[in-house]
């Protein structure tokens, strides 16, 4: 009867628990308590992940569009500038300059005018010193008596009469900007909306492309080198394979810098490999091979560093493949190659997939090794991100580059899911 399941039925009443409360409520309470307990158990981990992973990512994504500094530092100027025609060829009128004088005076008091200068300098070189210089002078002015200010500003620096300066201030006055993302794809906000940067300043698209291609090359060489090793690991007798496993894991216990420096010693022109090649006469002394400070060096060093991340998932998948599949294939008439290619290999694809995703994503974000052995042609987009974080302090651009990298990884992940299937990934 339906009555028994509705607890507001006055005639029959709901099913009651032993203590007289409706069974449904009693059950819900018991479940809630259980869920609460479970939640409390994972709470430390949840908070940890939120604080160390999700929040920084969210913060980064926010930074890549955040641009409150202009309207916060120059509130009056931004309002006064709203009516100015950026398409024309006359600088703004006295009202704007008066507002600017008032804004800069307060900003100089709080020492925020130089900060704004650095921010706007990313978009228009020269604005950093313009604001630094002006701050010092404007502080001494009396806003009530010293006007008109247009002349006085032009006295400090002619650049205040430059339309580009005002255009930059106006373009970047909204609290959100697409400027960083545009910069990250070699574009800029011009007078007529987004446009490509000058040819000789385009760098990021090229670096994104290179990063992807080289990460792909590294992933492929990891597959090529890792597959046979994983196969050996999975098929050798226990004692030998344990020893081999230690060798595979050994790089994990050595500092990244040490390993990278070791490759330098091996690969450089006066290095071990070249010395040997010259000594056996394969290469003449004045034609030593260039194997480092280029893409080859980066691919070699990074393949070495990331190889274990490919081998381990492959190994654990291979280990779970019963040797009788190969025997079955051979008994059914397949040659060794056919048995491998048609029967063994397809079953290892989940391991290759897991290893490839790991290696590719790690490779895409690497910057220490490319910085050390990449030379000019082997650097990655991450090297630029590191530069903008620690040297140029253009965190907005760094965040935008990181955001694009994140998007690229997600697109690859989506593509992998679509064409191979993410449930087809096995770590063991």
């Amino acid at each position: 009867m339906s009555d028994t399941t509705t607890d507001d039925s006055p005639q029959n009443g709901p099913v009651l628990a032993a203590d007289g409360t409706p069974l449904r409520r009693s059950l819900a309470r018991a479940l809630r308590r259980q869920k609460l307990r479970a939640l409390m158990l994972i709470a430390p981990l949840l908070i940890f992940i939120m604080v160390t992973f999700i929040l920084p990512v969210a913060d980064m994504l926010y930074r890549s569009v955040e641009n409150g500094i202009v309207s916060e530092t120059l509130p009056r100027t931004v309002v006064a500038l709203a009516d100015w025609d950026a398409g024309g060829d006359t600088p703004p009128d006295e009202a704007v300059f008066a507002a600017l004088a008032a804004d800069i005076q307060i900003a100089a008091e709080e020492k925020t005018h130089t900060k704004l200068g650095s921010r706007l300098n990313y978009e228009n070189p020269g604005m950093s010193s313009l604001f630094r210089k002006s701050g010092r002078q404007v502080q001494r002015w009396d806003l009530n008596t010293d006007g008109p200010f247009k002349e006085k500003f032009l006295d400090i620096d002619d650049d205040w009469g430059d339309i580009d300066v005002w255009r930059t201030i106006q373009t970047y006055s909204p609290a959100m900007t697409s400027g960083y993302y545009l910069a990250a794809v070699d574009m800029q906000l011009g007078a007529d909306g987004p446009e490509m940067r000058p040819e000789n300043e385009r760098i990021y698209l090229k670096l994104f492309g290179r990063t992807l291609m080289m990460s792909l090359a590294i992933t492929l060489s990891c597959i090529a080198l890792g597959y046979p090793v994983a196969w050996l690991l999975a098929n050798l007798p226990m004692r030998t394979s344990n020893l081999l496993m230690i060798l595979v894991l050994l790089p994990f216990w050595t500092s990244l810098l040490v390993r990278t420096s070791a490759w330098k010693i091996l690969l450089q022109q006066q290095g071990v490999i070249n010395d040997i090649l010259v000594w056996i006469g394969l290469v003449s002394d004045d034609a030593r091979l260039v194997m480092i400070n280029n893409q080859l060096g980066t691919i070699i060093a990074m393949t070495h560093i990331l190889l274990p991340f490919m081998i381990l998932p492959m190994y654990s998948v291979m280990q779970s493949i019963n040797p009788s599949y190969l025997r079955a294939a051979k008994s059914l008439g397949a040659t060794d190659w056919t048995a491998f290619w048609r029967v063994y290999f397809p079953q290892t694809v989940p391991g290759i997939g897991a290893g490839s995703i790991l290696v590719f994503i790690l490779a895409i974000g690497y910057y220490i090794t490319p910085a050390l052995v990449g030379g000019t042609t082997g650097t990655f987009i991450s090297n630029r991100i590191a530069f903008h974080i620690s040297t140029s302090l253009n965190w907005g651009l760094a965040a935008a580059l990181g955001g694009i990298l994140l998007a690229v990884v997600l697109v690859f992940y989506w593509a992998y899911d679509k064409f191979v299937g993410i449930d087809n990934v096995k770590l063991g």
Binding site: Y325, R327, A328, S331, A334
Partner: protein, 365 residues
């Protein structure tokens, strides 16, 4: 039992196998298998039976000796050229292929055309009553269904010889019995030669034309199931096949087909000498529980009888199983058919037991 062709289709000739160069896993194996015969290799684990199968399949090489298939030495022929169908213990169905693709695999590598392939796959699936499952993946099938597919795959390319390595080991009892019947039916219908490896003696007895009992790297006895059961040639076979009572003693008298053995407690029994050479030899005598008799009217004149004390009576439905103390041993079993005239012995009773001399075999000690 079918009438086999007398030609030796598969021949093991003085085959030896060693893995470590110190011990022989297979010692001097000589075996001929007739065309169309269903031969089972039976033995405990480590007896060398699987090694023999693997040598025949080509996954192991013989350390010494020759293996012939249809008169031709195959020692140097790689497995994929031997054309032998094989069913594995875990079925080894390729998990990334559908049932139909699994079956088509041996046909594809033999470069058969598409329509040929499809026809053969369909016929093979129908043969094992799995026609509706062509597009499933192995993981979506039950154990029994996988077993049928594995069988169909081993047969689909029409090999003349099929090897089966404990194929029913993973199935439950009922399904196993059903599949035993299916496999023998198919083998005989198609007329293929089958070599079947198992450690389950019931399976061996019910399915095979002949059974080779392996122990310690040698064939202990090679005979049809009934001979094997009723006329074991040594005490290992007697003990391994079916239930068996074993008593130890010394040969007192020895004629052509009868002997008298004095058990260790002094009592005498009649038996048929099988494995004893002269008076004074130590021997183990073997008597099947269902051949033991306790009713005096069934005994021959002058037969030697033994005193037995009933220790336990077990009612098993179709038979009564009685545990007795005989000649100082507590594990002597007597089985009696549950018939209207059968008496249920009570623990503590003392009876005289005996048997027909030809049912009691004096074997090696």
């Amino acid at each position: 039992m079918l009438d086999q062709g007398s030609d030796d289709f598969v021949v093991f000739d003085k085959v030896q196998k060693s893995y470590d160069g110190q011990t022989l896993v297979v010692k001097d194996l000589n075996l001929s298998i007739g065309k169309g015969e269903f031969l089972t290799m039976l033995g405990p684990s480590g007896s060398g039976k699987t090694t023999c199968l693997m040598m025949l399949a080509g996954f192991e090489t013989a350390t010494h000796g020759d293996i012939l298939l249809d008169g031709q030495g195959i020692n140097n022929i790689p497995p994929h050229k031997r054309g032998i169908g094989m069913v594995f213990q875990n079925y080894a169905l390729f998990p990334h292929m559908t049932v139909a693709e699994n079956l088509a695999f041996p046909l594809e590598v033999r470069k058969l055309g598409k329509s040929d392939r499809e026809a053969k796959v369909k016929r093979a699936l129908d043969m094992v009553q799995m026609g509706d499952f062509a597009n499933r993946r192995p993981a979506q099938l039950s154990g029994g269904q996988q077993q049928r597919i594995a069988l169909a795959r081993a047969l689909v390319f029409e090999p003349e010889l099929v090897l089966m390595d404990e194929p029913l080991g993973a199935l439950d009892k009922q399904l196993r019995e059903h599949m035993q019947f299916e496999i023998t039916r198919l083998a005989h219908e198609l007329g293929i030669t089958t070599v079947y490896v198992t450690h389950d003696q019931t399976e061996a007895l019910t399915m095979s034309d002949r059974v080779a009992v392996f122990n310690d790297g040698r064939i202990q006895q090679l005979d049809p199931p009934d001979t094997l059961y009723e006329e074991p040639k040594n005490s290992f076979v007697a003990q391994f096949i079916g239930e068996n009572n074993s008593l130890e003693g010394t040969v007192k008298e020895l004629n052509n087909d009868t002997a008298v053995v004095q058990l260790d407690d002094g009592s005498l029994i009649d038996c048929r000498p099988v494995n004893v050479k002269q008076v004074g030899d130590r021997t183990k005598v073997s008597i099947r529980p269902e051949r033991v008799e306790y009713r005096s009217e069934r005994f021959q004149e002058g037969a030697h009888l033994l005193k037995a004390e009933v220790l336990e009576f077990i009612y098993m439905g179709d038979v009564f199983r009685t545990r007795l103390r005989v000649a100082g041993r507590d594990d002597f079993i007597m089985k009696c058919r549950n018939a209207p005239d059968q008496i249920r012995l009570k623990p503590g009773e003392t009876v005289n037991i005996g048997w027909m001399p030809e049912d009691c075999r004096a074997l090696d000690a």
